[in-house]
Symmetry: C2
Subunit: 239 residues, 2 copies
DNA sequence: CCTCAAGGTGCAGAGTCTGCAACTTCGCAG
DNA sequence: CTGCGAAGTTGCAGACTCTGCACCTTGAGG
């Protein structure tokens, strides 16, 4: 099933922004600091729990002042579960390059699988993040909230592509909300199953399921009560 | 067009929990205090903005101590955008009463439209909430996050109904994430259009769109560039 | 009445986060 | 290579959020 016939080109530059873009020294240092802070936060929290780690300690671990920590992240939670600030524009940029007549769900599929392909580059962050959220469920709201601004931004872009009013027309909001929800579900699934299969594959399958109208899963095929296969999305793919 | 043929019974007791359940004096007082606090918070923030209102002032406006405020809400944001703490169990309770062989998306549709029917009972809270979030976009993450715990709880219930493993099986997470996203999108749309049409109708339409695989909207019917109709979801309904 | 438990309150203290005013470092001409 | 402006870092003061704890107050039920 990962043998998708590549329905569209989708061969751009993913660019997670944590990417190794060869920029000036300043820019590189900034990225490094940001990354160091995030990693320090995640590592500390992973071993002690959210409440037992202060911004003081995180900053110290990354060798910067607390003030600097707050120059990079709006809050402790942001450091743990926040998205890269450039992600929104990156995704929108990829979106506008999709063929204008492509159905929105299809465009989003392309853009988001592309994202899912590049995101896990930063393996440790992902793993830690999932572990930390699992261990501190009260971070869940923050995790979900992290994509809120993103969602709004992308919905605006979709509205523009469709040439409809972004506030009164329901469609862009809906597709984007649903698409982002699917990506989040995929991410959680990926984390819950130990990152066994590539994230973009899972995201692709979820979009298949979406496009098929989320059909109910096979109604108890055999009768084995402990059915717990690795991952089995209803729709096999629209290849 | 809201003349939906009522595909399923869905005639239970919605019960928003801000419901007027005739309980003991203690219980009534608690509800009243909670409501007073929420309302006070929303009103103050609506006119001054989030950062210009302190928990002190909110508590004062509701005639309780700050400490009590925090007994009711985990944070200022929680008071503004948080869900009622009983909502999760209420929804799950309704969910388990759906016929066992009903497709999950259908069950969720029933439960969530029912919720959408009862929620707007508390008109002022809804209106203020939407207004406040619109005026303070940095609340958006909190708004999205508010349903995170809910989502997890419902997904667990769906997994149980389907008798699959809630952590390794992707389906429950996906349907629920998507369904909740649809409800949120509907809520936002409803707010953005001045609550012109009943929320449950909108939610119903969104579920139609979901079940139909989120088809692209009609590709520019005439050619009028300023097309801004009241609300026009692609799928007319699967009646 | 009387008692118990649930809820409300005040206080102290830890921690988060922001504005401001230096100070240091990078990028870029001249 | 030298110097200047922009960008980034830092420390500090201070407002605010949130929690634990001990002590009251009040509704529920004998």
């Amino acid at each position: 099933m990962p043998a998708a016939p590549a329905p569209a080109p989708e061969r751009d530059r993913p660019a997670t922004a944590d990417d190794a873009a060869p920029a000036g020294l300043r820019e590189r240092k900034k990225r490094a600091t940001r990354h160091a802070l995030r990693l320090a936060a995640l590592r500390l929290v992973a071993e002690r729990g959210v409440d037992a780690v202060t911004t003081d300690e995180i900053a110290a671990a990354a060798d910067v002042s607390v003030r600097t920590f707050f120059n990079y992240f709006a809050s402790k939670e942001d450091a743990l579960v926040g998205n890269d600030p450039t992600l929104g524009e990156t995704l929108v940029a990829e979106l506008v390059e999709r063929p204008a007549d492509e159905p929105p769900l299809e465009s989003l599929r392309a853009v988001l699988t592309s994202y899912a392909r590049s995101a896990p580059l930063d393996g440790e962050v992902w793993r830690l993040r999932m572990r930390v959220v699992e261990a501190n469920p009260h971070l869940l709201p923050a995790l979900h909230g992290a994509s809120a601004q993103l969602e709004r931004r992308i919905a605006a872009a979709v509205a523009e592509r469709l040439d409809v009013d972004p506030v009164t027309d329901p469609y862009p909001r809906l597709v984007v909300a649903v698409a982002v929800a699917a990506v989040r579900a995929a991410t959680q699934h990926s984390g819950a199953t130990g990152f066994a299969r590539p994230l973009d594959t899972i995201v692709g399958e979820y979009f298949d399921a979406l496009a098929a109208g989320l059909p109910a899963p096979p109604p108890r095929p055999g009768g084995d009560p402990a059915r717990t296969g690795p991952a089995r999305v209803p729709a096999p793919g629209r290849a």
